[in-house]
């Protein structure tokens, strides 16, 4: 009832002074009871304790999402070898947060799409089938001919196209749809990680992929949910088990739409960061900042066992789903 929200009166000299003192007694009483502070915290778990394991509001365990976390194995350098992949664009309703369905556009049914991996100098051959309602493409980051760029050859509904080019340069790359409106095609879910291994193999490690993304479920141009590899709080509900004795290597890419930057922050330890997955260590840190489309490789040698949180250091993203836990065991 907005009528009475207006405040402040110009002091007017008024009669009826006799009622004043009595009135003050009455209102002081009511006043105090209504501005009582509300801080007691004794009931259900709150804070991060309410955001781990079964308490975390995420979706049921989904093998398709789990498959995105682990990349296919790296193959030794063998120039000219053909690596075949098939990507099918499909309109598909996915659960992006507990109980929330999003009408996504996907490559192979998930957002992000599958991890594509090749070794430098492999011939990458990606057959693309468009089963969606809209025209789509695949635009790979890397070095390739102009007609394989996913910009000019728009694949209509029901159409098909095969992208074929040598995989280079080695590093952490990514792919996404480049149809217009670009913002719509990207945030609807058409993107994924693209790993090109160097000719000289990387040291063995426990390898993980995290594509950072967000979902604007109500179409207002800002994300309602954030996550890594899709659903909000997925790795909070199902912590990622790693062992302390071996390096953890994370191929990380930021494909969040609308928000200009995203980040990755690790609790309780530091890591080496290789920008775009190249050789030079850029940083020894616990927080990296990623622009839209920026990506790299994180290598962690955990010092301790236990549960360590990781999340965006944008608190808003964290509390809208982009957080999880490593369960570090011996």
């Amino acid at each position: 009832m907005a009528k009475f929200s207006r405040k402040k009166l110009l002091g007017a000299v008024v009669p009826l002074v006799a009622a004043g003192p009595l009135a003050r007694v009455a209102f002081a009483e009511t006043d105090r009871s209504a501005t009582h502070e509300g801080h007691d915290q004794t009931h259900a778990p709150v804070g991060h304790a309410a955001m781990i394991g079964g308490e975390a509001p995420s979706i049921e365990r989904n093998p398709a999402i789990d498959a995105l976390l682990t990349p296919p194995p790296a193959l030794p350098h063998e120039p000219g070898r053909v690596r075949d992949y098939t990507l099918v664009a499909r309109d598909h309703d996915i659960e992006v947060a507990q109980g929330v369905t999003f009408p996504a556009w996907t490559y192979n049914g998930t957002a992000p799409g599958p991890v594509i991996r090749a070794t430098e100098d492999d011939i990458l051959r990606v057959r693309f089938v468009n089963e969606g309602e809209h025209p789509h493409t695949i635009h790979f980051h890397g070095i390739h001919p102009a007609n394989m760029d996913g910009v000019f050859e728009i694949i209509p509904k029901g159409g098909e196209f095969t992208y074929e080019f040598p995989a280079r340069p080695w590093g952490m790359q990514l792919y996404h749809c480049h149809s217009t409106p670009l913002k719509k095609h990207v945030h609807k879910g058409l993107y994924g990680a693209f790993i090109i291994d160097p000719p000289k193999p990387r040291k063995p490690a426990q390898e993980l992929v995290m594509v950072l993304n967000g979902f604007d479920t109500d179409g207002d141009g800002s994300n309602n949910f954030y996550g890594a590899n899709g659903p909000a709080f997925y790795y909070a509900r199902y912590p990622i088990r790693v062992s302390r004795s071996q390096t953890v290597r994370i191929y990380v890419a930021n494909l969040t739409e609308f928000d200009l930057i995203n980040s990755f922050h690790l609790h309780g330890d530091f890591f080496r960061y290789y920008r775009t997955g190249r050789d030079e260590v850029v940083d020894y840190t616990d927080t990296i900042m990623l622009c839209q489309g920026e990506r790299g490789i994180i290598e962690i040698d955990f010092h301790n066992t236990g549960k360590f949180m990781f999340h965006a250091h944008q608190s808003e993203f964290t509390e809208l789903g982009w957080m999880g836990f490593f369960d570090v065991v011996e």
């Binding site: 009832m1 009475f4 402040k8 006043d31 009871s33 801080h39 309410a50 109980g99 929330v100 909000a232």
Partner: protein, 385 residues
């Protein structure tokens, strides 16, 4: 009347049922096959999937949000956010709400007193409904102290001013007929002011109601019912002073409702000045009743007390109701009723003036009085914020 004619009239009475029977048949036909007709028109847009937030309560370590589904399609509560952060919650009631069904979302939350807070409820289709609370203030529980507090607020802004205004009665009795007419016109002016104010408040509240509760017609319904009821009463039993008191009383119930609600939900800084403002504003209501009472040769103290109770007492009931039950629908009904009653009493007073005022309705005393009434209400209304 011949026998045939009588039978004919019976047949016509039956015939009057035919459109109703036909309508029922058509409705059931459409309900079973109407889908194909809709198909001819193409796809209908998806539902808005927005919740209607009815009430937000702040308890120590807890926020309770009452939500209603205002649309024909089912609506499911999926995710709840506070200040753009997803929070754990439980639901007292169903998670999937049918049309006009409500549930209460219980959120364990260490809210910060006096700070703004944004509640978000996302449906299973991903549509987020947000509700901003200007300042988080602990919701008052029904307690003896609070009850007394609300009662006293009602007493000070409703009952006492009206009683004080009635003290003008002896002076008015000795006034010349011109002056009495002027004061009667003043009463009409202040009632016209109250009627317009109540009407505007009713429309404002109605606009915020879910569309399932109907449009602006509900306001007209309230106005007409109370107007006609008072018209009936005025011709049956009630004296003019009683009518004026009823009109003012209904308005004061609405006023009390608004004060109680705003206060209970932290939207109102109920300072001393505001109370004084209401008191000055409402003293003029007492003057109006006093003027109408000059009609009665003798008015016993009991009679005067009754008038004070009818006009001022509802303020207390209103603050209690508003303080513990937040219902904008109730607000619409009472403000609409108040508007109707006040309009009716303006008409009654107009009738009185036409026959009794020296110089009739167009005399300077009457015109000046009416203008004075509206002006006084406007100026003292500024005091009440």
């Amino acid at each position: 009347m011949t026998e045939i004619a009588a039978r004919m009239s019976g047949a016509w009475r039956l015939w009057a049922l035919v459109p109703i029977v036909a309508l029922v048949a058509m409705v059931s036909l459409f309900a079973t096959t109407g889908g194909s007709l809709i198909d001819l028109l193409g796809r209908t847009p998806p539902p808005a999937d927005a919740f209607d937030v009815r009430r937000v309560e702040f308890k120590p370590g807890e926020i309770k949000v009452r939500v209603t589904n205002p649309q024909p399609e089912d609506l499911t509560i999926a995710v709840v956010t506070v200040d753009d952060a997803i929070v754990p919650f439980s639901i007292d009631g169903d998670q999937t709400l049918e049309r006009l069904r409500s549930s209460t979302i219980v959120i364990p939350y260490a809210w910060v007193a006096d700070e703004p807070i944004l509640i978000g409820i996302t449906s299973s289709s991903g549509i987020e409904t947000t509700h901003e609370v200007a300042a988080a203030v602990e919701t008052s529980e029904p307690s003896a102290k609070g009850f007394l507090g609300f009662g006293l607020v009602g007493l000070f802004v409703g009952v006492i001013p009206v009683a004080l205004g009635l003290l003008w009665l002896p002076s008015l009795r000795r006034a010349r007929p011109e002056w009495l007419a002027a004061f009667m016109a003043l009463t009409a002016g202040l009632l016209a002011f109250l009627a317009l104010e109540a009407l505007s408040e009713a429309f404002a509240l109605q606009a915020a109601l879910p569309s399932a509760l109907g449009g602006a017609g509900i306001v007209l319904l309230g106005v007409v019912v109370s107007y006609l009821t008072l018209t009936y009463l005025s011709h049956k039993l009630a004296a003019l002073a009683t009518l004026v008191a009823i009109g003012i009383g209904l308005h004061n119930f609405g006023e009390g409702l608004a004060i109680g609600t705003s206060f209970a939900f932290g939207e109102l800084a109920l300072g001393t000045f505001l109370i004084i403002g209401f008191m000055v504003h409402n003293v003029t209501e007492g003057l109006g009743i006093a003027t109408a009472t000059t009609e009665e040769r003798r008015a016993s103290y009991a009679r005067l007390g009754l008038l004070v109770l009818i006009a001022g007492g509802p303020t207390i009931l209103g603050t209690w109701t508003g303080g513990y039950v937040r219902s904008d629908a109730l607000g619409v009904v009472f403000f609409a009723a108040a508007a109707g009653a006040a309009f009716e009493v303006v008409v009654e007073v107009g009738r009185w003036l036409r026959t009794r005022a020296p110089g009739g309705l167009t005399s300077g005393w009457v015109l000046g009085g009416f203008l004075g009434g509206v002006t006084i209400m406007y100026v003292t209304g500024l005091l009440a914020g």
